[in-house]
């Protein structure tokens, strides 16, 4: 009986193949590409982390905040005449166009984040609703935004736009690093340092930390809690808008009505990996997850494996170290 079962079960090769040789061969290119993706994840993860730090809730609609930014980038660039092939423009002109797209994305994402807070979170806060209700409303909001886009733009991804052809800048370990990778990683890190400093040094940042630590006491001390919450959502939106620009730069064909969903899960996994509620943890988690995802993708042979790997990482982190690598919360981070 057992032997018949064994012969009836498909062979190993029908399940999962590990291609170690490919990983060894492409290790460094996978590393640099992974860091680029990681920077994008980290920017989105910050949005999750900030809202989680202040409200202790996962903002399920954050993936939609991100995808609205992607659409804004798409529309701005198509309006400015960008198409599938890279435009024949001077460096300065391209830079100006990209900055315009960045502004559009930031505005779109920040407005979406603001609206989500107003429509899905604030009415509940007034009613002092239980947690479960927040989560369901947030997922409802995410769903509604997704399907509004679906009804408007249809199920297919938008046509790809090329902003510029990446030019090789220098070579490390036999792998060429191009301008696109450098732009994304450097810009993302700069933005994150700015946010980190903003939260640590500015008056509003102190308010955010105070609300994260103890909302009631913060209110008694004269912090305007509602204003702080809105600000937090908007900061998350701004970062998601920036991430949207880099995402469209990296994956031009990724602008789709449900494109934010899986990226949202990955960004959340990144936030948990670094320690949710921790601003620096988001950066670390994002970069690590980008690396792990890219190695997994090459090891297992299909780009969709990144999603599976990210998910497995999330479950493993929750199992082994649920507080994440850095672990401290937003409220307790040093002044």
């Amino acid at each position: 009986m057992l032997s018949t079962v064994l012969t009836a079960v498909p062979a190993d090769s029908d399940w999962i193949n590990f291609d170690v040789a490919a990983l060894a061969q492409n290790f460094w290119s996978a590393t640099f590409d992974g860091l680029t993706f990681g920077a994008i994840y980290a920017l989105v993860a910050l949005g999750y982390t900030l809202v989680y730090g202040v409200l202790n809730l996962i903002n399920f609609a954050h993936s939609e905040v991100f995808i609205m930014g992607c659409y804004a980038v798409f529309f701005t660039l198509s309006f400015l005449g960008f198409g599938p092939s890279a435009p024949n423009l001077s460096f300065g002109a391209i830079l100006i166009n990209i900055i315009l797209a960045l502004i559009a994305a930031i505005v779109a994402s920040a407005v979406t984040a603001f609206l989500v807070e107003r429509l899905a979170y604030r009415p509940l806060r007034k009613r002092n609703a239980p947690r479960l209700v927040y989560l369901i409303t947030a997922i409802g909001a995410s769903f509604v935004i997704q399907y509004l886009i679906f009804l408007w733009r249809g199920p297919l991804p938008e046509p790809a736009l090329t902003m510029f052809i990446p030019t090789p800048i220098f070579e490390v370990f036999g792998t060429i690093i191009d301008s696109q990778q450098i732009v994304i990683v450097v810009a993302a890190v700069i933005m994150m340092v700015l946010v980190d400093q903003f939260i640590r040094r500015s008056r509003t940042g102190r308010g955010i930390r105070a609300v994260a630590q103890d909302p009631d006491t913060a209110t008694l001390m004269g912090v305007n809690k509602e204003k702080i919450i809105v600000t937090t959502f908007i900061i998350g939106g701004i970062l998601a808008g920036a991430a949207a620009l880099f995402y469209v730069m990296k994956i031009p064909s990724g602008v789709q009505y449900n494109g934010g969903f899986i990226l949202g899960i990955k960004a959340f996994a990144a936030a948990v990996l670094g320690g949710i509620g921790n601003v620096r943890g988001a950066l670390l988690g994002g970069l690590l997850l980008g690396l792990i995802g890219n190695y997994g993708q090459i090891l297992l042979g299909s780009s969709q494996w990144t999603d599976v790997v990210a998910f497995v990482v999330l479950v493993l982190v929750l199992l082994i170290r649920p507080q994440g690598i850095l672990g401290t919360s937003l409220g307790r981070s040093k002044a």
Binding site: L119, T137, L314
Partner: protein, 401 residues
């Protein structure tokens, strides 16, 4: 850390008790505007129902069940989804949605755990049935009916594997992990060659039996027997869920939902019961998946969208979180509306998404709110309270006389 709290029990309990008192005094007219306002759309009916003697309740239930069984034969003209969609098949899909909603209600409604990837368990059940009966699969073949219990077991195992890392933490983590899992299962079905991606499995098995003309009774296009099978299973599951709700386990779930810390302090092993709720919910999901796979006869990776998961949540929320009758109603409604009103079928996600938000903000207890009675003593205590209040009022009237 009160992670997953539902509505507080006390005000509701008081209100329903007060309403019941009023009922017993008035002699069960049950149309007080106050009660209707507090108890949702069907509040008056609900009150009336609770005031009925047990035998009468059973009688009405039997009539309702008989009507439910007769529906595909009667094919009532206004309710019918024809000509757009075959009515028995629509009924089957309503019954499957209702079953899913009852299963999900155990997780969301009783234990207060938000499972956003319920479709994953549905998919696990479907694949279990498909891979063990379809000629396209290299596995051993077993009769279709055996795959139903097997689908329950496999889905429960998956539920436990997912539940153990996440259920120790706050409820939010469970929500996002299940949401991710709902998508991952589809990607896995695409990526793992043995699961055949979009090609899928044809000719999934069916229960035995052939009609006089040699056509199998459980043919894919014949919704009626499938509907009857699912309805029977649904009724059994409703009974089991009802019994669980009133048992020690059910009381623990409610305690966990209302205040996890307090429950833990009172000696409820919260983690254990949360895993149980999650696994049982997964089991019901797996079973519905196996039924669905059998009726459709074809399983591939396209059938399990994460958005359908959100529809399932909408079904539970619409019906009333924590109320199994509400879940049946919500599930059937979510399946029925796009099939009946084909003009708006395209907008169903948008409609249910908006409904999800509006209900949660303005009527968090759903269309048929769960009765917040003292579950520890169940109906008996409730009865006794009513009796004493009736006696009191009787005493009062005597004195007045």
């Amino acid at each position: 850390m009160s992670t997953t709290d539902g509505p507080t029990p006390l005000p509701g309990a008081k209100a329903s008790q007060a309403a019941a008192d009023r009922q017993s005094k008035k002699g069960g007219a049950g149309t007080s505007a106050d009660a209707t306002h507090k108890k949702g759309l069907f509040g008056a009916w609900s009150e009336k129902w609770q005031a009925m003697p047990r035998q009468k309740q059973w009688l009405y239930l039997i009539v309702v069940v008989l009507i439910a069984y007769a529906l595909p034969v009667i094919n009532p003209p206004i309710l019918s989804t024809e000509p757009g969609n075959d009515f028995p098949l629509a009924l089957f899909s309503m019954a499957v949605y209702a079953l899913v909603a009852v299963g999900l209600n155990i997780v969301i409604g009783y234990a207060g755990l938000l499972d956003l990837g319920y479709i994953a368990f549905f998919a696990v059940g479907s694949y279990t049935a498909a891979m063990l009966t379809s000629p396209d699969s290299p596995f051993v073949k077993i009769p279709y009916l055996w795959t139903i219990p097997l689908a329950i077991v496999v889905a429960m195992c998956v539920g436990v594997i997912l539940g153990i890392p996440t259920l120790r933490l706050r409820g939010d983590y469970l929500a996002i992990v299940t949401l991710g899992f709902g998508e991952i299962i589809r990607i896995l079905a695409t990526l793992i060659p043995a699961m055949k991606g979009q090609v899928g499995f044809q000719n999934v098995g069916r229960p035995p039996g052939e009609g006089a003309d040699g056509i199998p009774i459980f043919a894919n296009s014949n919704g009626t027997p499938w509907y009857w099978l699912t309805l029977t299973i649904l009724i059994i599951v409703l009974f089991l869920a009802g019994n669980l709700e009133r048992s020690r386990v059910g009381r623990s779930w409610i305690a966990i939902r209302e205040d996890e810390d307090a429950a833990e302090t009172m000696g409820v092993p919260t983690f254990k019961y949360k895993v149980w709720a999650f696994a049982l919910g997964a089991g019901v999901g797996g079973m519905s998946g196996a039924l669905f796979a059998g009726q459709v006869g074809f399983v591939n990776n396209q059938k399990f969208d994460i958005v359908t998961s959100i529809l399932f949540v909408a079904a539970v929320v619409l019906g009333g979180v924590g109320n199994k009758v509400g879940a049946v109603f919500g599930g059937a409604l979510v399946a029925y509306i796009p099939l009946r009103f084909t003009a708006i079928a395209e907008y169903k996600y948008l409609i249910f998404g908006i409904a999800l938000m509006l209900i949660m903000i303005y009527r968090p207890k759903g269309l048929i709110p769960a009765r917040q009675r003292l579950l520890a003593y169940g109906q008996q205590a409730y009865q006794r309270v009513r009796e004493t209040s009736a006696k009191k009022s009787a005493v009062v009237t005597e004195k007045e006389v």
